[in-house]
Amino acid sequence: MLRVYDTELRSRLMLGTSRYPSPAVLAEAVKASRARVVTVSLRRESSGERAGQGFWSLVRDLGVRVLPNTAGCHSVKEAVTTAQMAREVFGTSWIKLEVIGEDDTLHPDVFGLVEAARILSGEGFEVFPYTTEDLVVADKLLVAGCRVLMPWGAPIGSGRGLNNVFGLKALRAHFPDVPLVIDAGIGVPSHAAQAMELGFDAVLINTAVAQAANPVRMAEAFAQAVEAGRAARKAGPMEPRDLAVPSTPVIGTAILR
């Protein structure tokens, strides 16, 4: 079972809660995905004390663990303040930390990320940092107190899958014991299966499910893909070869060339 910050999770699929056609569809999709963790953005929904209350209570009613996030924060200070507010609103010390450095690609600002992770870990938060596949940044995040990493597959919402398989494999190999969750860029279930086959511990999906024509069926498809990819990883995939190898032995057949 997947263990993150001393919590055991029965599902290796996490879902975002933004941009569904309605909260009712979101609830159905979460059920179909069998996800045990959903992430919620505070920043876009929060201009006052009571703002967002209606939506937040619907999210709390989903009966799954809430991982609040700092989506849309562009500075360390914003991210830290949003995290503190999230702790109040959802009563959890979990925080998915996003510090955005560039608006067109939503590329993480890794310098701000490490700094915010250090501050929040010091305040007792359990930080899930949204990062790139960069090994040095990953190492600095672990030093800053993170015990989970969330590398991107591709830019948020782009649906491009795993852009840098080589880099992601290197990350997996360098940190065999750190839970690694692919956090962004997954477009279709085969991308999620691929991430699991590469040995990642879980995937987090939002747009690919929320913006599907039928989010509930897509959530179910992702659940199956994540399970298939995980099972394949455990089963030990074969290594690809350059030439054909017959699966039936040739010796013993009637006609030999």
């Binding site: 309605s22 929904e45 619907l58």
Partner: protein
Amino acid sequence: MQVKVIGAGVTGLACALELAERGAAVEVLDRGAALGTSSCSWYAGGMLAPWCELETAEPLVAKLGGESLAWWQRRFSATALNGSLVVAHARDAADLVQFGRRTERFEWLDGEAIAALEPDLGGRFNKALYFREEGHLDPRAALAALAHRLDDLGVPIRFGVSAAAERLVAPAHGARARCVIDCTGLAARSVLKDLRGVKGEMLLLRLRDVSLSRPIRVLHPRLPLYIVPRADGLFMVGATMIESDEPTRITARSMLELLSAAYALHPAFGEAEIIEIGTGVRPAFPDNLPRIGWHGGALYVNGLYRHGFLLAPALARRAAQVVLEDRHFPEVMREDTRERHLV
């Protein structure tokens, strides 16, 4: 039959009109000081776009919304039925294809055809979706027109009346001679516990250099952005969708996004005057679909979400038949206990 309609937004006025047209003795009460001031209808886009809405809305919205075009045309002569246009900037071209996959009753236009419909957009877009049968109206003028028709039918609209007090004196359900219809939007949340608010922000701009004949939707990765032309050089730019129950002021970010949408549609919008900044909170149920239901002797018509002007006619028509003929409409009256936690 005597009917009190509480709430003079588009839902309340449409209900009152449907009832009055069927011969009921109707009275409309509203907490505001004047027409529109306390209602989120005041800030609506006024698009009658049932097929565009299929992009994110359930098929029921298109079905009910389809009734609105003829309804409005009959009751508000300035209703425009000249279609709507959906465009995307080059970087969001894939979104236009996806929009087309999820909607219906449109045709693809090339640059020339776009210029023929909207000369001021000539050369700015190569592709667009054209929903020929859709329409639009000016919500404030439409509300005034409904109020005027009600006045003609002898229906008074009383302002400055608290809905809470009226709910208390609602007759028991089944008392056929008198009835209360509650169309108070988010204010009904004390009774409709699963109602939530979705804040919307809009701008009114004035610009003489650009003229548009129909609503233009500009596809955007996060917001359903649109620009609706109004009389006198006015353009309504809307609308954000923020999960929030508070009609707080516009944020700088929303303002930037709305203005950049207008500017990207046509750079001349950079010179537009900002006439008004509006915010309102739309009432929505968890499935974002409207509901009609009896609670404590009053019939609640609520949850029209971002489809007020589109759905009010169909709901008003049904509410009138519920009250006067005891009809039942499962598609809007279904009791779904899983989704509806009512007192």
